[in-house]
């Protein structure tokens, strides 16, 4: 690939991440009942506000790990979006897109826990523990949900998976896997029902002690992860770039933005689950259903 197209691709990915971040912030605020104008302008005003605010630190904080983890959420979202094939173009071409997407979402475990730990304060630590408790619940169904489209396309390459859906989008005959995937996205983006690690009832949890630019990037990273998760769902379940009239990359963008908007609106609208409530349903109900879904896919392929 010539250098200019690499730069172009990187710029497109960054722009996409910023757009998805804004859509998520707006959608979640509207879901929570804020008016369109306020919700759409809030992200810009908040950015100005937090850039002007001073940074702070807490007593005996582990500043290295704290800052590192807070600033890593946004790059993780960028990497996730970079895996998405925009029609024929992929910024990071890999035959293992599904596995890498999974690996990146697991790195979020480390980042969020460290973010809570680093502040050396109760609210953050509790938030970090809560995230791991939720992660154990959503991660297994998410992993098995990723298996279904990979099996149907008999490839782990996101581009191949997108191509395999030219006749029928996977979401049509893998609704359970799609649902489990979306639950996972809400989980690693700390949004909606799975937002307990950043809940108001623990004073903002892992975000409780952050201020200024540190809070800005952590919060933006959280929104961006939801958008990135939705963007990865496009090649996995929503037919990638296929669609009439528009060119492929435009369809990927449109689908990603629509899914992000819907998902973030739903996330803002739903109340938070109390932490102990997730593991039971996730393992006893969702996981067997997803495995059944995988089985159905396997039988159909035979």
């Amino acid at each position: 690939m010539p250098e200019s197209s690499v730069l172009l691709g990187a710029a497109a990915v960054l722009a996409a991440v910023l757009a998805l971040t804004w859509v998520t912030a707006t959608g979640a605020a509207m879901g929570a009942g804020r008016g369109l104008v306020l919700a759409a302008t809030d992200p810009w005003l908040e950015t100005a506000r937090l850039l002007r605010q001073r940074r702070r630190t807490t007593l005996r904080a582990d500043v290295l790990l704290w800052r590192l983890s807070g600033w890593s959420l946004l790059p993780l979202a960028v990497l996730l979006v970079a895996l998405v094939p925009w029609g024929p173009h992929v910024v990071v071409p890999t035959e293992l897109g599904v596995v890498w997407a999974n690996a990146l979402d697991v790195v979020v475990w480390a980042a969020v826990w460290l973010l809570g730990w680093g502040a050396n304060a109760v609210a953050g630590l509790v938030g970090g523990y809560r995230f791991l408790a939720l992660a154990l619940g959503y991660e297994l169904p998410l992993m098995f949900a990723l298996v279904a489209p990979a099996m149907a396309a008999s490839s782990l390459d996101l581009a191949m998976i997108a191509d395999a859906q030219s006749d029928l989008w996977f979401v049509v005959w893998m609704p359970v896997a799609f649902l489990a995937y979306l639950v996972g996205v809400l989980g690693f983006a700390l949004h909606g029902p799975l937002a307990a690690p950043v809940g108001d009832e623990v004073a903002g949890g892992v975000l409780a002690e952050l201020s200024g630019p540190d809070l800005l990037v952590a919060r933006a990273g959280r929104h961006a992860l939801l958008g990135a998760g939705a963007a990865v769902a496009v090649p996995l379940f929503l037919g990638g770039g296929s669609g009439p009239w528009l060119p492929d990359p435009a369809w990927v963008a449109v689908k990603a933005i629509i899914l992000t908007a819907l998902l973030s609106y739903a996330a803002g609208r739903l109340p938070r689950l109390r932490v102990p409530l997730l593991l039971g349903p996730a393992w006893v109900v969702l996981l067997p259903l997803v495995v059944l879904q995988d089985l159905v896919v396997g039988v159909v392929l035979l």
């Binding site: 929570a32 009942g33 008016g35 306020l38 809030d42 810009w44 005003l45 100005a48 506000r49 937090l50 850039l51 002007r52 605010q53 001073r54 940074r55 702070r56 807490t58 007593l59 005996r60 109760v122 609210a123 509790v126 523990y129 809560r130 937002a195 307990a196 809940g199 108001d200 009832e201 623990v202 004073a203 903002g204 975000l207 409780a208 002690e209 952050l210 201020s211 200024g212 809070l215 803002g268 609208r269 739903l270 109340p271 938070r272 689950l273 109390r274 932490v275 102990p276 409530l277």
Partner: protein
């Protein structure tokens, strides 16, 4: 310079407020909440990201230190407002953006603050210097509810805290986030029973549970003094019942809110807070306290 001014205006257009209630300050807090809502300003759950600290109600002298500690956690630029009467609410909020833009004042404020503002609030009874690095005493172990020995943290909640009854101070011993023991250090002064206080409790609890729409609805009922027999009231009670059933709210919290908003019942039974909170996790403590806020006064009055 022009760009800087535009940015400063954008940054202070909708300040984030950390709103806490002084003992007996509920009516003032309600007025502040309504004023914030009308302006489209939002609150912060922790002081760390706030631009302004607003204390609603008259702060008794023994809580000045607590307010100072909270104030020391605002990163700056920061503004502090003590709103003691309903008439002062609009004036206090209207001047916030301009006060936040006073560059010279904030620069001086930042210069005066030392690097470490927290140490003076730490207990100085930690004798053994090397076992309490930085003045923070080390945690001690005790068995948790599973019989596993875990570190116990002593964690105070209150007396000034976001969405928390004014003046209530709890001292919790927690394992991770499970509350092993609770002691009430200071009793709150709340608005007592009555429809307004009941709907306020619903609003606070739903806001803490992440149901913003329900919380806004309850605030509206509180503002208009609506009775529970109205269609809106019935709808909200139905919502509470549902959240209690699926476990979004702890069943005890949903039950308390339903009892408080039920006009046909004779009143809310007083609450024994420590017994209610022991063994719960930290977030449930917040939800339960918020839901039982109208009954807390009765509990204290019954004891006195």
């Amino acid at each position: 310079m022009g760009l800087n001014r535009v940015l400063a205006r954008a940054a202070t257009a909708r300040p984030r407020v950390h709103l806490v209630e002084a003992p007996g300050g509920s009516p003032v807090r309600w007025a502040v909440e309504d004023a914030l809502e009308a302006r489209g300003w939002r609150r912060t759950p922790s002081p760390a990201a706030a631009d302004a600290l607003v204390v609603a109600g008259r702060l008794p002298d023994d809580l000045r230190d607590a307010a100072d500690l909270l104030w020391s956690q605002l990163p700056g630029p920061r503004v502090r407002r003590h709103v003691e009467a309903l008439a002062e609410v609009d004036g206090a909020l209207d001047t916030l953006p301009a006060a936040l833009r006073e560059r010279a004042a904030h620069r001086d404020d930042a210069r005066e603050r030392g690097g470490d503002e927290v140490s003076r609030f730490l207990p100085d009874d930690a004798e053994d210097g090397h076992m309490s690095p930085g003045g923070v005493p080390l945690a001690e172990g005790a068995e948790d509810r599973d019989g596993l020995e875990m570190d116990v943290l002593v964690h105070p909640l209150g007396p000034l805290l976001d969405r928390w009854p004014g003046g209530l101070e709890l001292r919790l011993a927690i394992h991770g986030d499970v509350v092993a023991d609770v002691a009430v250090q200071r009793a709150p002064v709340t608005a007592g029973a009555g429809p307004a206080a009941a709907w306020d409790a619903v609003s606070t609890t739903l806001a803490l549970a992440g149901d913003r729409r329900g919380a806004a609805e309850a605030s509206r009922l509180r503002r208009h003094g609506s009775s529970t027999t109205s269609a809106d009231g019935a709808r909200l009670r139905h919502r509470l019942r549902r959240w209690g059933r699926v476990g979004i709210l702890p069943p005890a919290a949903a039950g308390a809110l339903l009892a408080a908003t039920d006009t046909s019942s004779t009143g809310v039974p007083p609450t024994d807070l420590p017994a209610l909170l022991r063994g719960q996790d930290l977030s449930d403590v917040r939800l339960l306290v918020a839901a039982h806020a109208p009954a807390l006064l009765l509990g204290e009055a019954a004891r006195a």
